[in-house]
Symmetry: C2
Subunit: 346 residues, 2 copies
């Protein structure tokens, strides 16, 4: 059974429901997010999780290490790390393929030393994101690259960043206590202004801290998802061919990827006026709580090192039901029909 | 704007949505409710509130007093208390009026001493609820009859039960701390098997404890509200006329009352099979947490004294939006159209 009923003629009712939920949510919550002057207690954070709105947390110091290039290189030596490489800084994003079709493009993943990664990043904000560089490198392996679920289950798998573990706590104590569970994955992220994370939502509670540089978030509540023009895109991956990165469509048997078509939700006019994006920057020794299901688009203006702790979401109660409902109520057309695929990406 | 869209032809889509939410909620949550062997910490209760499912709490001792008839009478003396009086034990319930129409009937409220109230209650479970008694008395004034919001705001109003206050804590510490607010109202309830509370939901978080006797709850999640056949009923009040209680319809200008038409949701076959009622009894020194929006029907089999603490619900976040949506999505016809009013009450 779907929540849509059986008839296509009911589309306007679904859309009315989505718009009502979006407007009602905004009426009750506004655009406000709380800013905490220090880390919360477990009880304070449990109250925050109930409300499920983002919170900026100041004076969050994950570790006392300095995260300079020299320090990172000295700790990591020649150990190979997996780095996302794209021609345009948009990994996991909708991209025009050489055949004129739009694809959900995964980056090439190449192994290199920390020094090679950092040599390819720049603090030059003028060139950031303009595609001037031939290729963009972003450490965003996000598979629990520092601590994965195995670590917490007593079956540790190998981490490319094992030598950095002493600088990265395996959990956030007040979050672990509030949620009564260990993290599912802990990641380190290293990139520069050339990289952008396209807008998406995760099935996790997320504590995300910047330890060097600054991240710029554009956030939308789950109820505003209908404004993001989600469509189905064929899957593709960048591969290196004779030295160049080329986008290689996956076999047709691969399931299409549901993804937002809005490339730049942080820019004025790119999303419907009914949506109410929240723009917030996270600086060194600050953290942001991104609740499960919240849409986020992430940029950075210089070399930025960040850490995040993902915690499995609570499946009991109403919140997961509601997120599923918001997801399943939406019509999700193909991103490439009627030659309007490229028009959909703005 | 309503969540229904503009056309009556969309009714099946609304119904499909309600049924989908109900089924999905049940798939994820089942019929399970947690039973705690003792009172939770504030943090544990904050986690429970996030999930928003009922919990039975054992070893909850509100006070050490014995709550016997003698004790209550000695403490209260001749102080007048407000008691709900009905001919059938159904205060605030759908009732057939003398003109063949169905009404939402409020009880007569009569002042009497504690002794008069208790003299009219019986532990005889055989006669309970069978309408054998000419009139049914139930202390259910539920207006913060022990402590009202004024008490917590430093502007105490008078309580009919002021002399019982030393036996009734003004709050539940772990709940106050978890929710970070004082109660909105604290009530004492005294009744017997002749009284039944019809199924309804409240806009409050509710900690409800039995200090003498036993209460039998039938609970339904907010998503099962569509199974309760809510309809609009004209308002009426029992008044005493030449010694008898008669149901007096309110002036036609009074707004109709939206109320569930299902009188006996605890009996097999009275609600659609898609609903999943949870039946749970609460005994002396036990408490139940009834989350905001949960439907509850309450019975008792002997003289039962209960206390409850209502806390204002959290309006921020998604949960209130969701409760409003579930409420507004439903079609709520008149309870008296097409001569099917009395058929609706089963």
């Amino acid at each position: 059974m779907t929540p849509k009923g059986d008839s296509h003629t009911q589309k306007s009712s679904q859309q009315a429901s989505l718009e009502w939920l979006s407007a009602e949510y905004h009426d009750l919550n506004g655009d406000h997010i709380d800013i905490l002057e220090g880390t919360p207690t477990a009880l304070e954070f449990a109250r925050i999780v109930q409300i499920s709105r983002p919170v900026l947390i100041k004076r969050f110091q994950a570790s006392s290490c300095k995260w300079s290039n020299d320090y990172l290189i000295s700790k990591m030596g020649s150990r190979p790390i997996s780095v996302a490489v794209t021609p345009n800084g948009r990994a996991d994003a909708i991209t025009l393929g050489p055949n004129g079709k739009l694809y959900f493009a995964e980056p090439a993943v190449e192994k290199m030393s920390m020094k090679s990664l950092l040599d390819n990043l720049s603090d030059d904000t003028c060139s950031a994101g303009d595609g001037a560089a031939a290729e963009t490198y972003y450490l965003q392996s996000q598979n629990g690259n520092v601590y994965s679920s195995g670590f917490f289950n007593g079956q540790d798998d190998l981490s490319e960043f094992e030598t950095l573990r002493q600088d990265i706590p395996s959990d956030v104590k007040w979050c672990t206590e509030a949620l009564d569970k260990s993290p599912e994955a802990v990641n380190v992220w290293i990139g520069d202004g050339g990289s952008i994370s396209s807008i998406h939502s995760d099935p996790y509670e997320n504590i995300y801290t910047v330890v060097r540089g600054q991240k710029h978030f554009t956030l939308l509540p789950p109820t505003d998802g209908w404004c993001l023009d989600e469509r189905l895109y064929p899957h593709a991956t960048y591969v290196r061919n004779a030295g160049d990165l080329v986008l290689q469509p996956s076999p047709e048997i691969s399931p299409p990827v549901r993804w937002a078509s809005i490339l730049n939700p942080h820019l004025p006019g790119c999303i419907p006026p009914e949506a109410h994006p929240i723009h917030i920057s996270v600086s060194e020794n600050e953290a942001i709580y991104i609740p499960v299901g919240w849409w986020h688009h992430v940029r950075q203006s210089s070399i930025t090192v960040a850490l995040n702790w993902w915690y499995d979401t609570e499946m009991r109660g109403m919140s997961w039901v509601m997120l599923s409902y918001l997801r399943d109520m939406k019509d999700v057309p193909s991103g490439n029909t009627d030659n309007e695929g490229s028009k959909a990406v703005v």
